[in-house]
Amino acid sequence: MNTHILEQAIGWTVRLREGSAEEWRAFTDWLEADPDHLAAYDEVQRTDAALGQIAPRPRPVIAGQPPAHLPVRSRRGWLVGGGSRLPPPMRLRRSPARRAACSLPMAAAST
């Protein structure tokens, strides 16, 4: 896989989190330009989606409200590394709000 294409795919992954319709159209153009683009983007998404199951995806942006953030406790989440010895599922269980966020149907339409 071409490194430059992988970088572009990561760039789209990062920017489309808060992307406008215009950016989504530009992304569509990019996907159509070369089949390797979709392959690279899919690879980044598979990697990213695996993380998404332990940390909920960002909620939809509701007009007039700041984006919902996770509890402060999550700052010591699994990615801190070397900190807590608790396995991730146990930490998830301690936070019903996060679990609820994971199971909301619209978690599927929010990144």
Binding site: L6, E7, I10, G11, T13, V14, L16, R17, E18, G19, S20, A21, W24, R25, T28, L31, E32, L38, D42, E43, V44, Q45, R46, T47, D48, A49, A50, L51, Q53, I54, A55, R57, P58, R59, P60, V61, I62, A63, G64, P67, A68, H69, L70, R75, W78, L79, V80, G81, G82, P87, P88, P89, L92, S103, P105, M106, A108, A109, S110, T111
Partner: protein, 182 residues
């Protein structure tokens, strides 16, 4: 925006969303998926949505992500990486103790890989991906440019993709490294 308002946006941009789904690899399923997209998006739209078309695009993209994920688990491809999270999903079949252990090891390794990139990259990735803070706000918090934030996120994602590739190679039958853990 009401669901009725969202529906008007959906109807007006249905062809555009179809084109996106096809570009995203939906193939013959694109027509079905655009319907499914509407059902999910309308069910989830409980409050006013800032940018309804972007919201529909995000919903379409997530539909493709979920679809790819379920196809992968069916095919038992990318086993290590998928195991890293399937054991944590309430919807999945109960994994064996061995598999759950493997999944935790893989998650710990992902955490190590990000930590090795340095504190700043670790912090920025955590803020962005785990805590859901936007690039712009992270840039403001740290007093750096949005481009710099993206550079750190690039490093983190590249490292995770690299880890994922190494795990896949370790899974390949020809690999002498199979089953070994450092």
């Amino acid at each position: 925006m009401s669901v009725g308002g969202l529906e008007a946006i959906y109807v007006a941009h249905r062809l555009e969303l179809l084109r996106f789904l096809r570009a995203r690899g939906a193939g013959d399923a694109a027509e079905d998926l655009v319907q499914e997209l509407w059902i999910k998006a309308s069910a989830g739209a409980s409050g006013p949505i800032q940018d309804p078309l972007a919201y529909l695009y995000r919903a379409a993209n997530n539909l493709m992500i979920d679809r790819a994920r379920s196809e992968i688990s069916t095919a038992q491809r990318n086993r290590d990486w998928t195991d890293a999270t399937s054991g944590l999903s309430e919807a999945s079949d109960a994994p064996s103790a061995e598999r759950t252990l493997l999944a935790r090891e893989t998650l710990a390794e992902a955490a190590r890989v990000i930590a090795e990139l340095g504190e700043r990259t670790d912090t920025i990735f955590r803020r962005f991906r785990i805590e859901g803070v936007g690039q712009k706000r992270i840039a403001e918090e740290l007093g750096i440019s949005i481009n710099t934030v993206e550079k750190h996120l690039q490093r983190a994602y590249r490292a995770l993709v690299g880890l994922r590739r190494r795990l896949e190679e370790a899974e390949a039958p020809a690999s002498p490294e199979q089953g070994s853990h450092p």
